[in-house]
């Protein structure tokens, strides 16, 4: 790891002011630090945002759950309010990584990184989330741009994520046996008007599966997607799973999610 400057920002304004083209925000550091240690990333400045009070905490209103960007996974999974409002979100957080990761990793860090196999991006898509930054509000559907790519501009800091409370929802993950990231994770959420079927792990970026959403919006039953033959041409292939297997898993996990709703 190369030398770098460490800053601890006291508020978003200071954090944003410190940001430059050779800086990174540091929350849990679950990706940033290993990348630096492996020499895959180098930064001149690391701007620690963990100590910004405003960025941590969970608020629940009648319609939404808002989680501060620096809130740790363990805080989400342990929150009684989240468990009551959106139980699937709580269990998603409980299934991220291992206890060490859950005690350091943050929700903001996860979605800003937008790992194609991360769990939280699927929750954002399925639960029609709004990403609150220090500059604007971004709809989840427009936030996740591609592999490790988001709509965030340099120096733009996620402050909170606001999830819409669905009627029913469930997240079902087929984990990579080694890393326990999602080989495929499917987040099904039934809202008043329609059903979202957010898929992570299968392609280069999280997406809402239109075909299954449509079928489930018509009839919210796993039978309506049973045997569905998804196009695997854009799906990932790696040593842990072929595209063909992933395509099958997307349907299987979606069915499981619907049945669990």
């Amino acid at each position: 790891m190369k030398d770098f400057n460490y800053h601890s920002a006291k508020d978003s304004k200071e954090a944003s002011k410190l940001a430059s083209s050779s800086s990174a925000f540091l929350a849990g550091g679950m990706t940033t630090i290993p990348s630096m240690k492996l020499g895959l990333a180098t930064y001149k400045d690391l701007i620690d945002i963990k100590n910004i009070k405003k960025l941590s905490g969970i608020k629940v209103s009648g319609k939404s759950v808002t989680i501060g960007a620096a809130t740790k996974h363990v805080e989400v999974s342990n929150s009684k309010d989240v468990k009551k409002a959106i139980p699937s979100l709580s269990s998603l957080a409980e299934g991220i990584g291992d206890p060490q990761v859950r005690n350091r990793g943050t929700i903001g860090g996860s979605i800003a990184n937008n790992d194609p196999s991360a769990d939280y991006p699927s929750a954002c898509i399925a639960l029609n989330a709004t990403i609150h930054t220090n500059e604007r509000k971004i709809e989840a559907a427009k936030f996740f741009k591609g592999m490790f790519e988001t709509a965030l501009k340099k120096g733009e800091l996620i402050e909170a994520i606001e999830f819409q409370i669905p009627e029913k929802s469930s997240y079902q993950k087929h984990p990579n046996p080694a890393s326990r990231y999602a080989i495929v994770g499917v987040y099904v959420a039934k809202h008043k008007g329609d059903v979202n079927v957010a898929v992570t792990g299968a392609k280069s970026c999280v997406y809402n599966d239109k075909e299954m959403s449509k079928a489930l919006s018509g009839n919210f039953s796993s039978s309506s997607i049973d045997g569905m033959d998804l196009d695997s041409s854009e799906m990932n292939t790696d040593m842990h799973a072929s595209a063909e297997f992933r395509a099958s898993l997307v349907v299987t996990q979606a069915k499981k999610a619907v049945d669990a709703c």
Binding site: M1, H174, N176, P177, A178, S179, Y181, M239, H240, A241, S242, F245, S248, L249, T252
Partner: protein, 792 residues
């Protein structure tokens, strides 16, 4: 006094480990030490055109940079294979040179070419990046099955073939197969594994210019053996000027038997720069450069009669040695494999043929079980298939071919002294509720799941090994073990053992043995190991040998103490030595009330006189002091055995295999500490089940390790396992005074075929290779569906 052997004595080691006071190699920091970073080949096979260290030398904090050239110039020797194997045609095996730093050619990703020594770790790393190596990249050979058809890796080693070895009689086997009603055949792969000790390898080398002695602290399972190799073959220093210390070591599983490049280079370099050097592997270096395990491709056949008697066995195996042949690299796929490949069965004719090949991958060597897991996987997968094809119950078929009497003369090499395989099978069946399986299978079917049951009956040859026998077969050293038992004048005891504990609990179990033998409270006994300056010599710990060989040396040394104690007591109490009995720490003159405690005797041995009298308690011929040494050479291997039964449930939609039940019923002979044995069994099972369902080392065709981190190499975790159901039968080993056999490797030996037999049973007999990953199983489930549709 109650016997401690057999009881769950709490581990003496636990206090320091659980309170973070263990002292591992990386915890050792010496005054004025420097830090080493190794520059490693990023290519699997290349020649080195040019190596330029000029820029790196100018980097801040650099103390020295050494390359393969200096190593070669100073004739610092390479790494060696410790066992010479002869091919079927009588030619000796072919081994390439393996310099500690490569000079001309690199042969696997991670092969070191230079060492950078600097004032700090960060500076060493930075300078290492500035070492310029110009490689001519060559086509790598990575596939085990195709290695003989690849480019020649090492000059003069045709077909990349180290040896083509045969054990057994081909003609006898042919005759047996001619008489068979049926031949069962199988093609299997024993997947490559990475040992993954919790503590990465590390070393700290120090040079004392005054005594001209090098001290090497290193993560070793056998410090004396390391010293011998480094001295005799490495030319690092003569043995009396080289001290090797292996302090607390956090797991080895065979991966820390070897002397590694870094041990030799750091020891040699410390003397050169006259400063201490510290090197600690990063986890990615462990993945790349620790020895790997297994990696066999096997075709095997079993000739049977229609009622299920085994007539003959053939085993044709290609074993991958990796880039170089290392210490146990050549014996693991031969004498540790072939003799065990006929399993626990009476098979009149058998042979095992092994072609050992070089590839551009990390060296493959002994990993927990070493050869015996591969042997057991071969025969037990074959027997399971035979049971399916013959329509004979898998347990009945096994029992039908078990030996009926002991000693059991095996087809190929071993004579198994004791055992009761039928009792083990019956108990395992009962523990696993074998009878109730069909009901559980139906229940799973009701939930849309597939359920399978798998059985393995295994034996293994451990407690290695009788020196004359192994040396006749090519071993470079004798595999005896030494112990020294030393009384202090005030009655406490220090036991020096040549065995090494890196998780095996010797400080507890060996103390239990000595406490019983000497009648001294266990808290007054210390067990010391892991330092060539303490204890006479040692061959180290591997092959489940510590108790069956090292433990017996302790017993024998204790017996010598007792014998001397009897003589001294006799003199002191004016009795005949033959009339002195020893019991529970007291020497008693029979038919009298005269006695001395062993503490009194020890005191008298060290202070042999009394005030106002010219009188010695020592009989003529006995010297003062109370210390005895034993070198114990076993008369035979020891042969643990048992039956394991696994049950899995498969979700055909996702291919997920859930291990529902695992039953292990083992015969380890006499058990010293049941709690320690349970730990060993659990650990072995975790690694064995890991091989069957999770772990796999994978190289791509260019020789890059694809599974070089825990993101891709699946280490099993606690939630992958059910509660293990563990039980024992017990027949004492007849070849050693404790009746012990060994337990460290059994789980890793028996579990892979047990789990795979269950998976394949659930899949209607379809073969899947290890590890049975979700995708492989999912595909098999799809095939099953198709064939069911056809059948309907």
């Amino acid at each position: 006094m109650a016997s401690l052997v057999g009881s769950r004595v709490e581990r003496k080691e636990d206090k320091r480990f659980l309170t973070g006071k263990g002292r591992y190699t990386a915890d050792i920091n010496l005054v004025n030490q420097t830090y080493a970073i190794f520059v490693r080949s990023p290519h699997a096979r290349a020649s080195i055109k040019k190596l330029n260290i000029d820029k790196a030398l100018k980097s801040s904090g650099v103390v020295s940079i050494l390359t393969g050239k200096e190593i070669a110039d100073e004739k610092i020797g390479g790494l060696i294979a410790g066992w010479a194997i002869r091919s079927e045609d009588g030619t000796e095996m072919k081994c390439p040179g393996n310099p500690p730093l490569a000079k001309d050619n690199v042969n696997f990703v991670g092969d070191p070419v230079a060492v950078v020594i600097a004032e700090s770790l960060a500076e060493a790393k930075e300078a290492a990046e500035k070492v310029e190596v110009d490689y001519k990249v060559l086509k790598a050979v990575t596939s085990t099955a195709d290695a003989m058809n690849g480019d020649t890796i090492h000059e003069g080693i045709d077909k990349n073939l180290c040896f083509d070895w045969l054990l057994g009689d081909r003609q006898k086997v042919k005759d047996a197969f001619d008489k068979a009603d049926k031949v069962i055949s199988i093609d299997i792969i024993n997947n490559r594994l990475i040992p993954n000790a919790m503590e990465p390898r590390a070393c700290v080398a120090d040079y004392n210019a005054a005594s001209e002695e090098i001290t090497l602290y290193t993560t070793s399972q056998n410090p004396h053996l390391s010293r011998l190799i480094m001295s005799a073959f490495g030319n690092v220093a003569p043995e009396h000027k080289l001290r090797v210390v292996a302090p607390d070591v956090g797991g080895g599983f065979g991966s820390k038997i070897n002397v590694y490049n870094e041990d030799i280079v750091c020891s040699w370099a410390a003397k050169k720069i006259n400063r201490a050097i510290k090197w600690v592997a990063e986890r990615s270096e462990s993945f790349l450069t620790d020895i790997h395990g297994r990696d066999h491709v096997t075709h095997a056949e079993l000739a049977v009669t229609k009622d299920g008697k085994f007539l003959g066995f053939k085993n044709e195996t290609i074993a991958n040695l990796g880039a170089y042949a290392r210490v146990f690299g050549t014996v693991t796929p031969t004498y540790l494999f072939g003799p065990c490949a006929t399993g626990v069965y009476e098979i009149p004719a058998a042979y095992t043929n092994v072609k050992a090949v070089y590839t551009n991958t990390a060296p493959v060597d002994a990993y927990r079980g070493a050869g015996r897991p591969e042997a057991t996987y071969t025969i037990e997968r074959l027997v399971e298939k035979a049971s399916m094809e013959l329509g004979i119950d898998k347990t009945e078929l096994r029992i039908k071919n078990f030996p009926t009497a002991f000693p059991f003369k095996q087809t190929l090499v071993h004579t198994v002294d004791s055992g009761d395989y039928v009792a083990g099978m019956e108990k395992a069946k009962q523990m696993a509720d074998y009878k109730g399986f069909e009901a559980r299978r139906k229940e799973s079917e009701g939930k849309g799941k597939l359920r399978g049951i798998g059985v393995t009956s295994y034996f293994e040859a451990c407690g290695i090994a009788p020196s004359a026998a192994v040396m006749s077969l090519g071993c470079g050293v004798g595999l005896w073990e030494s112990a020294e038992v030393r009384f202090n004048p005030t009655g406490q005891v220090t036991v020096y053992t040549g065995s090494h504990s890196h998780g095996q609990s010797h400080q507890t179990t060996f103390a239990q043995i000595a406490a019983d033998e000497l009648g001294v409270p266990i808290e007054n006994i210390d067990v010391v190991h892991g330092d060539t300056d303490k204890g006479t010599f040692g061959m180290g710990t591997y092959g489940s040998r510590s108790l069956a060989v090292g433990g017996i040396a302790i017993v024998n040394a204790c017996k010598k103490i007792v014998e001397k104690g009897k003589r001294v007591t006799a003199k002191m109490l004016e009795a005949n030595p033959e009339d002195v009995e020893f019991k529970d720490g007291e020497f008693i003159v029979s038919k009298s009330n005269k006695k001395k405690t062993i503490g009194e005797v020890a005191f008298a041995c060290y202070l042999p006189g009394v005030r106002d009298e010219m009188k010695s308690p020592l009989p003529e011929g006995d010297e003062p002091g109370l210390k005895e040494t034993s070198f114990y050479d076993p008369s035979n291997f020891s042969f643990p055995a048992g039956t394991h039964i696994a049950e899995v449930e498969i979700d055909p939609e996702t291919g997920h295999v859930k291990l529902e039940k695992y039953t292990a019923c083992d015969d380890f002979g006499r058990i010293i500490n049941p709690m320690v044995v349970e730990g060993q069994v659990h650990g072995g099972l975790a690694q064995g089940i890991g091989q069957a369902l999770y772990e796999n080392a994978e190289y791509d065709e260019t020789g890059q390790l694809m599974t070089g981190s825990y993101m891709d190499y699946t280490m099993p975790r606690a939630d992958n396992f059910p509660e293990f159901n563990i039980g024992y039968t017990c027949t004492h080993a007849t070849t050693n005074p404790l009746g012990v056999k060994g337990c460290g490797e059994a789980g890793a030996i028996a579990a892979p075929p047990t789990v795979m037999n269950a998976v394949i049973d659930a899949l209607g007999g379809q073969e899947v290779t290890m590890p049975a990953t979700a995708e492989k199983v999912w595909k098999a489930c799809k095939n099953l569906k198709k064939s069911n549709v056809k059948a309907a």
